[in-house]
């Protein structure tokens, strides 16, 4: 399917062996190819509607065109359909492609190419990679994570979904997952299941590849407090899987998870190391809101607006500082990232409440007129209020970030643990019979 004669990633060297072209040469070829093959970007983001596969088809076609031309997986191994080039070739292509329309798979695109595939490359067997990575690069497989569970939120490893291997060697998966972004239009899910209940929590876990359409898999969209429905929940009812579907080693899933979390958190805002705090005017949304309710000259409203603006500036200054600290000492980056996360979790709700105070009654009920800028400002304030705790909870609650900062940055003594040194089965039994007595500290 791929026309190797025009492989942009390899020239034939003098010794007859192929080698990468010089970067500038590569870049020039990419520029030419892009100009000929891609459309200019129009700016609008594709929205994927449930049960509307047509929404995806065009994106898949575009991805396939990139793949066929050798511009997918530029830095991924050639063995699995990639180009095996250094990272700067990948960056060069991205730079040239700016302003052109690239495949947009929405939130699932990020999960597929930024998390799942990278995790597979790190941990899956060669056979697994050969089976799935090329299809991913060709746009045939979109992946999500089946990771969080209704009964295990912050306690990431407290997974209860269970996979049992029957005598014939078939794995039987039962349980449920939640908060998988965009699963309703994905093809596959990476699913973390408990495969051994008689060892401590982090040990008896295994990752599986689960087809979204396998018998026994049910995927439902979750309607959120704001009315949106990006997240899904999944139910597994005797879903049959094989040893081929195992990613990494059986019972060693936590090692895989740690890699995955690194990829997942890697692109966080806290890595923004721009030193400068850019001026953008004083909280334009709140100024607009105050204007819409006639409070622009009210000293109390102005004080609230500026308070929010000052917090905004301090948050941006924090990210700059964190970036510098991470650069100076990369080993602390993962812990320091908790500051960025916590600042959102703490200040988003504060800002949303300031907005509600500024808007007053008009920010809780407004004209039903989408064209009215006042109504828009007010509706936005209300929506921000409802959604303001998202960052306080999702992807590690404020409490988890505070633990990380307290223990890993400030060096405070650890919380006593009650789930590390005994079989997970007992952990759950003991927790249900909790009395708080008789703990030991070591």
């Amino acid at each position: 399917m791929r026309d190797v004669t025009q492989d942009p990633a390899r020239d034939e060297g003098q010794d007859g062996r192929t080698q990468p072209p010089p970067l500038a040469e590569y870049r020039a070829r990419a520029r030419a190819w892009i100009a000929e093959n891609l459309e200019r970007a129009s700016g609008s983001r594709v929205e994927y509607r449930v049960g509307e596969p047509a929404d995806l088809a065009a994106e898949r076609r575009l991805q396939r065109r990139l793949y066929a031309a050798g511009y997918a997986g530029i830095s991924w191994p050639r063995e699995y359909g990639g180009q095996g080039l250094p990272a700067e070739y990948e960056r060069a292509f991205r730079l040239e492609a700016r302003g052109y329309r690239l495949p947009d798979f929405g939130v699932v695109g990020g999960t597929t190419y930024g998390v799942c595939a990278l995790t597979m490359l790190a941990h899956a067997s060669p056979e697994f990679r050969r089976r799935h990575i090329p299809r991913i690069l060709a746009g045939d497989e979109l992946w999500v994570e089946f990771f969080s569970e209704p009964a295990a939120g912050s306690d990431l490893a407290g997974v209860r979904t269970t996979a049992t291997r029957d005598p014939s060697g078939t794995w039987i998966l039962n349980g449920s997952k939640i908060w998988s972004s965009g699963a309703y239009y994905a093809d596959w899910g990476m699913c973390l299941a408990r495969t051994n209940w008689d060892v401590p929590k982090h040990r008896g876990l295994t990752w599986f590849a689960v087809p979204a359409t396998a018998p026994g898999v049910t995927i439902r969209r979750i309607r959120q407090i704001t009315g949106d429905a990006e997240f899904c929940e999944e139910f597994f009812d005797n879903v049959e899987l094989s040893d081929d579907d195992v990613i990494g080693e059986v019972d060693n899933g936590w090692t895989v998870t740690q890699t995955m979390l690194l990829f997942e958190r890697g692109g966080g805002a806290a890595h923004d190391s721009s030193r400068r705090v850019a001026p953008r005017g004083i909280a334009p949304d709140l100024v607009e809101l105050a204007r819409s309710v006639g409070r622009l000259n009210d000293p109390l409203a102005r004080d609230l607006i500026v308070r929010a603006h000052v917090d905004d500036l301090a948050r941006r200054a924090l990210l700059a500082r964190l970036g510098q600290r991470m650069t100076r000492d990369p080993g602390t980056a993962a812990s320091l990232a908790s500051y960025g996360k916590l600042s959102s979790g703490v200040y988003d709700p504060i800002r949303a409440r300031l907005a509600m105070e500024i808007g007053g009654p008009d920010a809780v009920a407004w004209e039903r007129d989408d064209a009215d800028p006042a109504a828009t400002a007010q509706a936005k304030a209300a929506e921000a209020f409802l959604g303001s705790r998202f960052m306080s909870i999702a992807g590690g609650t404020n409490e988890m970030q505070r633990n990380t900062i307290g223990e890993r940055v400030l060096g405070l003594p650890r919380e006593p643990s009650f789930d590390r040194d005994k079989p997970f089965r007992e952990v759950l039994q003991d927790a249900r019979a909790w009395t708080g007595r008789g703990g030991s500290s070591r």
């Binding site: 939120g153 908060w179 309607r223 809780v364 009920a365 109504a375 705790r389």
Partner: protein, 378 residues
């Protein structure tokens, strides 16, 4: 006794609260409230008639009007009922009708018939409070001009809850000599009720407009001017206190849900309520809730007794509960975690309601500013 607003309730008050709570649980439980909200519908007439039979709309009228309080303090009774209503997020113009009943029952005898119908649940009313003399929050304004021996009304007011369910409107308007209060047929020509979009889906908000609405002299409630000033101040206090009573009921329910979750939800081999982060957040929230309940009761008692500090306490209660209510719902959200973020869980209904209650009949800042007018005076 689910909300336990009035600790030292009389036996009659306890009975009123118990029957009200039972009525709510059996007639319009949360699941039904949600169904109505999602359909954008109001409760049916039977709901109001049964509620009326329990005394919901007669507590601020005397026995002559078919009303009467359970404990001798009608505002406190009404607050106790409001708290149970809030816990169940009951929709409908309970506050509005009670404000109208209080205003009409204390006014000219010619309104007795209407008061009787309101008290019996055969009609419903609400208060359309135009901004007058700094006594009411500025959410619009109605001007009453003399017209023969009656008036003509022009203007509009936003944020009137449940206006489409009401047969009558108590309109506070700006007249030549100060505030004028008039009772207006909600279906009279020129009266407009435009539905607003809103955060609180369990209450339906309207903008009510008056486009040359003519009313006779018999529409007058009380006397214009100084008399109306005092009446409007009292109406606002009643509306504020009954609103915060509903709020503390909603706070109580949301809080109870979060506590139960903290007791039973397990993470890291422990119930999450055994973590200080959760336990202390809930303890602080509980303190706020107890303070809020205490202040609502103090304000309701004072208002029902006509105490000198009644208006002050009403302002204090409204500003305190508005802010603590929003804090509480955020705290509960944090304890509930992800499930609180789903449409399916009831938490967001309480969050919406408490957000809306916080500004109904005046925001925290507005009430503080009103209270602050007394600073440095005398």
């Amino acid at each position: 006794m689910s909300v336990d607003l009035v600790v030292s309730a009389t036996p009659e008050q306890e009975l009123l609260v118990e029957t009200s709570a039972r009525f709510i649980a059996s007639t319009l439980p949360l699941s039904q409230v949600r169904a109505l909200a999602e359909a954008g519908r109001a409760p049916d007439a039977g709901y109001y008639e049964t509620a009326a039979s329990l005394g919901w709309f007669g507590m601020l009228a005397d026995e002559r009007h078919g009303g009467g309080s359970a404990s001798g303090n009608g505002v406190l009774d009404a607050a106790a009922v409001a708290a149970e209503r809030g816990a169940g997020l009951q929709p409908g113009p309970f506050v509005g009708t009670n404000v109208a009943v209080a205003a009409l029952a204390g006014a000219q005898p010619r309104h007795a018939e209407l008061v009787g119908r309101l008290v019996r649940g055969q009609a419903r009313a609400t208060w359309v409070a135009g901004a007058v003399a700094g006594l009411t929050p500025d959410t619009g304004r109605v001007v009453a001009s003399a017209d023969g021996d009656g008036y003509v009304l022009r203007g509009s007011v936003r944020h009137v809850a449940d206006a489409d369910e009401c047969d009558h409107l108590l309109v506070t308007a700006d007249g030549v000599d100060g505030p004028v209060q008039l009772v207006v047929d909600a279906n009279a020509p020129g009266v407009g009720r435009r539905r607003l979009e809103g955060m609180d889906i369990t209450r339906r908000g309207f903008a009510v407009s008056f486009d040359d609405v003519r009313v006779g002299a018999d529409a007058l409630v009380g006397e214009p001017g100084a008399g109306a000033r005092e009446a409007v101040e009292r109406e606002l206090a009643i509306a504020a206190v009954l609103t915060v009573a509903e709020s503390v009921g909603a706070m109580h329910h949301d809080f109870t849900t979060a506590v139960e979750h903290a007791r039973t939800r397990i993470a890291f081999g422990r119930p999450i309520g055994s973590f200080q982060a959760v336990k202390h957040l809930l303890a602080d929230t509980s303190l706020s809730l107890e303070m809020a309940k205490g202040l609502v009761v103090a304000a309701a008692e004072a208002l029902g007794e006509g105490a000198a500090n009644a208006i002050e306490l009403a302002h204090a209660a409204k500003s305190f509960v508005a802010e603590r209510g929003i804090e509480l719902t955020h705290a509960c959200f944090q304890v509930l975690g992800g499930i609180g973020y789903t449409w399916e869980h009831d938490h967001h209904l309480f969050m919406r309601r408490l957000g809306a209650d916080a500004v109904a009949f005046g925001s925290a800042q507005w009430h503080r500013a009103r209270l602050g007018e007394g600073i440095g005076v005398g």
